[in-house]
Symmetry: C2
Subunit: 190 residues, 2 copies
Amino acid sequence: MNALQERILKEGKVLGGGILKVDSFVNHQVDPTLMDECGRDFAKRFAHVGATKILTAEISGIAPALTTGIHMGLPVVYARKTKPITMPDQVYLTLAPSHTKGRMVELIVSPEYLANNEKVLIIDDFLASGQTILGLVRLAEASGSKVVGIGALIEKIFEGGRNALMSVDVPIESVACIKSLDNGKIEFVD
Amino acid sequence: MNALQERILKEGKVLGGGILKVDSFVNHQVDPTLMDECGRDFAKRFAHVGATKILTAEISGIAPALTTGIHMGLPVVYARKTKPITMPDQVYLTLAPSHTKGRMVELIVSPEYLANNEKVLIIDDFLASGQTILGLVRLAEASGSKVVGIGALIEKIFEGGRNALMSVDVPIESVACIKSLDNGKIEFVD
Protein backbone atom coordinates (compact mmCIF):
# COMPACT_ATOMS: atom_id res chain seq x y z
CA MET A 1 0.00 0.00 0.00
CA ASN A 2 1.38 3.41 -0.96
CA ALA A 3 1.32 6.61 1.13
CA LEU A 4 -1.72 8.06 -0.68
CA GLN A 5 -3.74 4.87 -0.16
CA GLU A 6 -2.79 4.83 3.53
CA ARG A 7 -3.88 8.44 3.90
CA ILE A 8 -7.18 7.81 2.13
CA LEU A 9 -7.95 4.95 4.51
CA LYS A 10 -6.99 7.08 7.51
CA GLU A 11 -8.66 10.40 6.63
CA GLY A 12 -10.91 9.89 3.61
CA LYS A 13 -14.64 10.18 4.30
CA VAL A 14 -17.25 8.44 2.20
CA LEU A 15 -20.18 10.80 1.67
CA GLY A 16 -23.40 9.97 -0.16
CA GLY A 17 -23.52 9.63 -3.94
CA GLY A 18 -20.12 7.99 -4.37
CA ILE A 19 -18.28 11.07 -3.15
CA LEU A 20 -14.99 10.54 -1.34
CA LYS A 21 -14.03 13.54 0.76
CA VAL A 22 -10.28 14.03 0.90
CA ASP A 23 -10.38 17.68 1.96
CA SER A 24 -7.78 17.20 4.69
CA PHE A 25 -4.91 16.37 2.32
CA VAL A 26 -5.95 17.05 -1.32
CA ASN A 27 -8.92 19.38 -1.85
CA HIS A 28 -8.95 22.16 0.74
CA GLN A 29 -6.04 21.42 3.00
CA VAL A 30 -3.14 20.01 1.00
CA ASP A 31 -0.27 17.89 2.31
CA PRO A 32 2.66 19.21 0.26
CA THR A 33 4.97 16.32 1.18
CA LEU A 34 2.40 13.75 0.04
CA MET A 35 1.75 15.74 -3.17
CA ASP A 36 5.48 15.88 -3.80
CA GLU A 37 5.70 12.11 -3.39
CA CYS A 38 2.79 11.59 -5.82
CA GLY A 39 4.45 13.99 -8.29
CA ARG A 40 7.64 11.93 -8.13
CA ASP A 41 5.55 8.79 -8.69
CA PHE A 42 3.86 10.28 -11.78
CA ALA A 43 7.21 11.46 -13.13
CA LYS A 44 8.47 7.88 -12.93
CA ARG A 45 5.33 6.35 -14.46
CA PHE A 46 5.30 8.82 -17.37
CA ALA A 47 9.06 9.12 -17.92
CA HIS A 48 8.77 7.31 -21.27
CA VAL A 49 5.89 9.23 -22.92
CA GLY A 50 7.93 12.22 -24.14
CA ALA A 51 5.62 14.87 -22.65
CA THR A 52 6.45 18.54 -23.30
CA LYS A 53 3.70 20.08 -21.18
CA ILE A 54 1.40 19.16 -18.29
CA LEU A 55 -2.27 20.14 -18.47
CA THR A 56 -4.70 20.14 -15.56
CA ALA A 57 -7.92 21.85 -14.49
CA GLU A 58 -8.21 24.38 -11.72
CA ILE A 59 -8.53 24.08 -8.79
CA SER A 60 -7.70 20.73 -7.27
CA GLY A 61 -5.58 19.49 -10.14
CA ILE A 62 -3.00 22.22 -9.59
CA ALA A 63 -1.17 20.63 -6.64
CA PRO A 64 -0.45 17.19 -8.20
CA ALA A 65 0.23 18.75 -11.63
CA LEU A 66 2.71 21.19 -10.09
CA THR A 67 4.68 18.55 -8.19
CA THR A 68 4.72 16.33 -11.29
CA GLY A 69 6.03 19.35 -13.19
CA ILE A 70 8.77 19.86 -10.61
CA HIS A 71 9.97 16.28 -11.02
CA MET A 72 9.67 16.22 -14.83
CA GLY A 73 10.98 19.75 -15.41
CA LEU A 74 7.89 20.61 -17.50
CA PRO A 75 5.61 23.67 -17.52
CA VAL A 76 2.08 23.23 -16.18
CA VAL A 77 -1.01 24.83 -17.71
CA TYR A 78 -4.20 24.84 -15.71
CA ALA A 79 -7.47 25.27 -17.57
CA ARG A 80 -9.45 28.15 -16.04
CA LYS A 81 -13.15 27.85 -15.20
CA THR A 82 -13.74 31.57 -15.63
CA LYS A 83 -11.96 33.79 -18.12
CA PRO A 84 -9.73 36.33 -16.37
CA ILE A 85 -9.30 39.80 -17.84
CA THR A 86 -5.68 39.01 -18.68
CA MET A 87 -6.78 36.35 -21.20
CA PRO A 88 -7.18 37.20 -24.90
CA ASP A 89 -10.64 37.09 -26.53
CA GLN A 90 -9.86 34.04 -28.64
CA VAL A 91 -9.56 30.97 -26.41
CA TYR A 92 -10.02 27.23 -26.43
CA LEU A 93 -13.18 26.51 -24.47
CA THR A 94 -15.13 23.37 -23.72
CA LEU A 95 -17.83 22.32 -21.26
CA ALA A 96 -17.65 19.47 -18.78
CA PRO A 97 -20.09 18.34 -16.10
CA SER A 98 -18.84 18.82 -12.54
CA HIS A 99 -19.70 16.00 -10.17
CA THR A 100 -19.21 18.05 -7.01
CA LYS A 101 -20.87 21.20 -8.38
CA GLY A 102 -23.86 19.49 -9.99
CA ARG A 103 -23.66 21.61 -13.15
CA MET A 104 -21.65 22.14 -16.33
CA VAL A 105 -18.44 24.12 -15.95
CA GLU A 106 -16.34 25.79 -18.62
CA LEU A 107 -12.72 24.76 -19.15
CA ILE A 108 -10.74 27.51 -20.86
CA VAL A 109 -7.15 27.57 -22.11
CA SER A 110 -5.42 30.45 -23.82
CA PRO A 111 -3.83 29.61 -27.18
CA GLU A 112 -0.78 31.47 -25.86
CA TYR A 113 0.12 28.50 -23.67
CA LEU A 114 -1.18 25.51 -25.58
CA ALA A 115 0.47 25.72 -28.94
CA ASN A 116 0.49 23.35 -31.85
CA ASN A 117 2.45 20.12 -31.50
CA GLU A 118 2.80 19.94 -27.73
CA LYS A 119 2.85 16.46 -26.20
CA VAL A 120 0.45 16.84 -23.33
CA LEU A 121 0.41 14.87 -20.09
CA ILE A 122 -2.92 15.37 -18.30
CA ILE A 123 -2.79 15.23 -14.48
CA ASP A 124 -5.82 15.66 -12.22
CA ASP A 125 -6.86 14.86 -8.67
CA PHE A 126 -9.74 12.50 -9.51
CA LEU A 127 -10.59 10.16 -12.35
CA ALA A 128 -14.28 9.36 -11.84
CA SER A 129 -16.60 9.56 -14.87
CA GLY A 130 -13.67 10.91 -16.89
CA GLN A 131 -15.70 13.88 -18.17
CA THR A 132 -13.35 16.60 -16.89
CA ILE A 133 -10.34 14.78 -18.32
CA LEU A 134 -12.18 14.28 -21.63
CA GLY A 135 -12.73 18.04 -21.63
CA LEU A 136 -8.99 18.57 -21.20
CA VAL A 137 -8.35 16.10 -24.05
CA ARG A 138 -10.68 18.15 -26.30
CA LEU A 139 -8.80 21.36 -25.40
CA ALA A 140 -5.43 19.74 -26.15
CA GLU A 141 -6.66 18.38 -29.48
CA ALA A 142 -8.31 21.68 -30.44
CA SER A 143 -4.90 23.32 -30.08
CA GLY A 144 -3.29 20.79 -32.39
CA SER A 145 -1.46 19.07 -29.54
CA LYS A 146 -1.40 15.38 -28.77
CA VAL A 147 -2.26 13.81 -25.43
CA VAL A 148 0.43 11.30 -24.43
CA GLY A 149 -0.67 10.24 -20.94
CA ILE A 150 -3.32 10.65 -18.26
CA GLY A 151 -2.65 10.51 -14.53
CA ALA A 152 -5.00 10.87 -11.57
CA LEU A 153 -4.26 10.78 -7.87
CA ILE A 154 -7.43 8.87 -7.12
CA GLU A 155 -9.43 6.75 -9.53
CA LYS A 156 -12.95 5.57 -8.75
CA ILE A 157 -12.95 2.68 -11.15
CA PHE A 158 -16.67 1.95 -10.63
CA GLU A 159 -17.58 5.28 -12.25
CA GLY A 160 -16.28 4.13 -15.61
CA GLY A 161 -13.80 6.90 -16.46
CA ARG A 162 -11.18 4.50 -17.79
CA ASN A 163 -13.67 3.17 -20.35
CA ALA A 164 -14.78 6.68 -21.28
CA LEU A 165 -11.12 7.51 -22.03
CA MET A 166 -10.43 4.34 -24.04
CA SER A 167 -10.60 6.14 -27.38
CA VAL A 168 -7.75 8.42 -26.32
CA ASP A 169 -5.49 5.35 -26.36
CA VAL A 170 -2.71 6.54 -24.01
CA PRO A 171 -1.33 5.17 -20.72
CA ILE A 172 -3.69 5.93 -17.80
CA GLU A 173 -2.18 5.81 -14.32
CA SER A 174 -3.72 6.36 -10.91
CA VAL A 175 -1.86 6.40 -7.61
CA ALA A 176 -4.84 5.06 -5.65
CA CYS A 177 -7.42 3.04 -7.55
CA ILE A 178 -10.68 2.50 -5.67
CA LYS A 179 -12.85 -0.52 -6.45
CA SER A 180 -15.75 0.27 -4.17
CA LEU A 181 -17.10 2.76 -1.64
CA ASP A 182 -20.13 0.58 -0.85
CA ASN A 183 -21.48 0.84 2.70
CA GLY A 184 -18.94 3.56 3.47
CA LYS A 185 -16.03 1.13 3.13
CA ILE A 186 -13.06 2.10 0.94
CA GLU A 187 -11.72 -0.84 -1.07
CA PHE A 188 -8.74 -0.51 -3.38
CA VAL A 189 -8.06 -2.53 -6.51
CA ASP A 190 -5.37 -5.06 -5.61
CA MET B 1 18.28 40.40 -9.50
CA ASN B 2 16.60 37.11 -8.60
CA ALA B 3 15.08 34.54 -11.00
CA LEU B 4 11.51 35.79 -10.51
CA GLN B 5 12.49 39.39 -11.24
CA GLU B 6 14.36 38.31 -14.37
CA ARG B 7 11.34 36.36 -15.56
CA ILE B 8 9.00 39.28 -14.91
CA LEU B 9 11.21 41.55 -17.00
CA LYS B 10 11.40 38.95 -19.76
CA GLU B 11 7.77 37.79 -19.94
CA GLY B 12 5.61 40.09 -17.80
CA LYS B 13 3.19 42.28 -19.72
CA VAL B 14 1.94 45.60 -18.38
CA LEU B 15 -1.76 45.93 -19.18
CA GLY B 16 -3.93 48.95 -18.42
CA GLY B 17 -5.02 49.79 -14.89
CA GLY B 18 -1.82 48.75 -13.15
CA ILE B 19 -2.29 45.10 -14.08
CA LEU B 20 0.85 43.03 -14.62
CA LYS B 21 0.15 39.92 -16.67
CA VAL B 22 2.35 37.01 -15.62
CA ASP B 23 0.17 34.28 -17.15
CA SER B 24 3.12 32.51 -18.76
CA PHE B 25 4.78 31.49 -15.48
CA VAL B 26 2.43 32.19 -12.52
CA ASN B 27 -1.27 32.56 -13.32
CA HIS B 28 -2.32 30.23 -16.13
CA GLN B 29 0.85 28.51 -17.18
CA VAL B 30 3.06 27.85 -14.16
CA ASP B 31 6.80 27.27 -14.15
CA PRO B 32 7.18 24.60 -11.44
CA THR B 33 10.95 25.03 -11.15
CA LEU B 34 10.62 28.78 -10.59
CA MET B 35 7.79 28.20 -8.08
CA ASP B 36 9.96 25.68 -6.27
CA GLU B 37 12.78 28.21 -6.06
CA CYS B 38 10.39 30.88 -4.70
CA GLY B 39 9.06 28.35 -2.17
CA ARG B 40 12.62 27.67 -0.99
CA ASP B 41 13.17 31.43 -0.73
CA PHE B 42 10.02 31.91 1.41
CA ALA B 43 11.00 28.96 3.60
CA LYS B 44 14.31 30.69 4.33
CA ARG B 45 12.76 34.11 4.92
CA PHE B 46 10.11 32.74 7.30
CA ALA B 47 12.20 30.05 9.01
CA HIS B 48 12.12 32.02 12.30
CA VAL B 49 8.39 32.79 12.62
CA GLY B 50 7.31 29.42 14.05
CA ALA B 51 4.50 28.83 11.52
CA THR B 52 2.36 25.71 11.92
CA LYS B 53 0.20 26.16 8.81
CA ILE B 54 0.25 27.99 5.48
CA LEU B 55 -2.88 29.77 4.32
CA THR B 56 -3.54 31.01 0.78
CA ALA B 57 -6.46 31.79 -1.52
CA GLU B 58 -7.43 29.78 -4.56
CA ILE B 59 -6.47 29.82 -7.36
CA SER B 60 -3.18 31.50 -8.05
CA GLY B 61 -1.88 31.35 -4.50
CA ILE B 62 -1.82 27.56 -4.52
CA ALA B 63 1.42 27.08 -6.46
CA PRO B 64 3.70 29.30 -4.31
CA ALA B 65 1.97 28.17 -1.09
CA LEU B 66 2.46 24.52 -2.02
CA THR B 67 6.17 24.86 -2.79
CA THR B 68 6.67 26.86 0.41
CA GLY B 69 4.88 24.04 2.23
CA ILE B 70 7.19 21.46 0.65
CA HIS B 71 10.26 23.32 1.90
CA MET B 72 8.85 24.07 5.38
CA GLY B 73 7.13 20.71 5.88
CA LEU B 74 3.83 22.45 6.69
CA PRO B 75 0.25 21.77 5.57
CA VAL B 76 -1.34 24.29 3.19
CA VAL B 77 -4.97 25.41 3.38
CA TYR B 78 -6.43 27.29 0.45
CA ALA B 79 -9.48 29.43 1.05
CA ARG B 80 -12.22 28.48 -1.40
CA LYS B 81 -14.19 31.07 -3.37
CA THR B 82 -17.24 28.82 -3.68
CA LYS B 83 -18.37 26.35 -1.06
CA PRO B 84 -18.04 22.76 -2.31
CA ILE B 85 -20.58 20.14 -1.26
CA THR B 86 -17.94 18.40 0.83
CA MET B 87 -17.70 21.40 3.19
CA PRO B 88 -19.76 21.55 6.40
CA ASP B 89 -22.51 24.18 6.79
CA GLN B 90 -20.63 26.16 9.42
CA VAL B 91 -17.64 27.87 7.85
CA TYR B 92 -15.42 30.91 8.24
CA LEU B 93 -16.37 33.31 5.45
CA THR B 94 -15.30 36.80 4.53
CA LEU B 95 -15.56 39.04 1.49
CA ALA B 96 -12.70 40.67 -0.40
CA PRO B 97 -12.65 42.78 -3.55
CA SER B 98 -10.99 41.11 -6.53
CA HIS B 99 -8.88 43.43 -8.65
CA THR B 100 -8.88 41.19 -11.71
CA LYS B 101 -12.56 40.21 -11.41
CA GLY B 102 -13.92 43.67 -10.65
CA ARG B 103 -16.26 42.40 -7.93
CA MET B 104 -16.34 41.09 -4.35
CA VAL B 105 -15.41 37.43 -3.93
CA GLU B 106 -16.04 35.16 -0.97
CA LEU B 107 -13.13 33.56 0.87
CA ILE B 108 -14.25 30.45 2.75
CA VAL B 109 -12.33 28.15 5.09
CA SER B 110 -13.69 25.12 6.87
CA PRO B 111 -13.19 25.11 10.66
CA GLU B 112 -12.00 21.52 10.17
CA TYR B 113 -8.68 22.78 8.82
CA LEU B 114 -8.13 26.06 10.59
CA ALA B 115 -8.30 25.27 14.24
CA ASN B 116 -7.67 27.35 17.28
CA ASN B 117 -4.07 28.34 18.02
CA GLU B 118 -2.47 27.74 14.64
CA LYS B 119 0.41 30.02 13.71
CA VAL B 120 -0.48 30.99 10.19
CA LEU B 121 1.89 32.01 7.42
CA ILE B 122 -0.04 33.65 4.56
CA ILE B 123 1.40 33.16 1.06
CA ASP B 124 -0.14 34.58 -2.11
CA ASP B 125 0.87 35.39 -5.67
CA PHE B 126 0.29 39.16 -5.52
CA LEU B 127 0.36 41.81 -2.83
CA ALA B 128 -1.37 44.80 -4.42
CA SER B 129 -4.04 46.62 -2.39
CA GLY B 130 -3.68 43.96 0.30
CA GLN B 131 -7.44 43.32 0.43
CA THR B 132 -7.30 39.59 -0.35
CA ILE B 133 -4.57 39.08 2.22
CA LEU B 134 -6.53 41.13 4.77
CA GLY B 135 -9.44 38.76 4.09
CA LEU B 136 -7.17 35.80 4.85
CA VAL B 137 -6.03 37.54 8.05
CA ARG B 138 -9.69 37.92 9.12
CA LEU B 139 -10.31 34.21 8.46
CA ALA B 140 -7.26 33.22 10.49
CA GLU B 141 -8.25 35.49 13.38
CA ALA B 142 -11.88 34.33 13.28
CA SER B 143 -10.61 30.79 13.85
CA GLY B 144 -8.61 31.84 16.88
CA SER B 145 -5.30 31.48 15.06
CA LYS B 146 -2.52 34.01 14.86
CA VAL B 147 -0.91 35.30 11.66
CA VAL B 148 2.88 35.19 11.96
CA GLY B 149 4.02 36.22 8.48
CA ILE B 150 2.88 37.34 5.04
CA GLY B 151 4.65 36.50 1.80
CA ALA B 152 3.83 37.42 -1.80
CA LEU B 153 5.61 36.49 -5.00
CA ILE B 154 5.05 39.92 -6.51
CA GLU B 155 4.36 43.13 -4.61
CA LYS B 156 3.09 46.24 -6.35
CA ILE B 157 4.24 48.67 -3.71
CA PHE B 158 2.45 51.64 -5.33
CA GLU B 159 -0.94 50.06 -4.58
CA GLY B 160 -0.42 50.45 -0.83
CA GLY B 161 -0.93 46.89 0.39
CA ARG B 162 1.98 47.05 2.82
CA ASN B 163 0.39 50.03 4.57
CA ALA B 164 -3.02 48.35 4.61
CA LEU B 165 -1.41 45.38 6.39
CA MET B 166 0.53 47.48 8.93
CA SER B 167 -1.93 46.74 11.75
CA VAL B 168 -1.22 43.01 11.40
CA ASP B 169 2.33 43.73 12.58
CA VAL B 170 4.16 40.69 11.16
CA PRO B 171 7.07 40.31 8.72
CA ILE B 172 5.96 40.96 5.11
CA GLU B 173 8.20 39.57 2.39
CA SER B 174 7.93 39.75 -1.38
CA VAL B 175 10.23 38.03 -3.87
CA ALA B 176 9.80 40.74 -6.50
CA CYS B 177 8.84 44.20 -5.31
CA ILE B 178 7.67 46.53 -8.06
CA LYS B 179 8.01 50.29 -7.64
CA SER B 180 6.31 51.38 -10.83
CA LEU B 181 4.60 50.14 -13.99
CA ASP B 182 4.31 53.65 -15.43
CA ASN B 183 4.44 53.90 -19.23
CA GLY B 184 4.53 50.11 -19.47
CA LYS B 185 7.98 49.95 -17.86
CA ILE B 186 8.55 47.54 -14.97
CA GLU B 187 10.75 49.04 -12.25
CA PHE B 188 11.74 47.10 -9.16
CA VAL B 189 12.50 48.52 -5.74
CA ASP B 190 16.28 48.43 -5.33
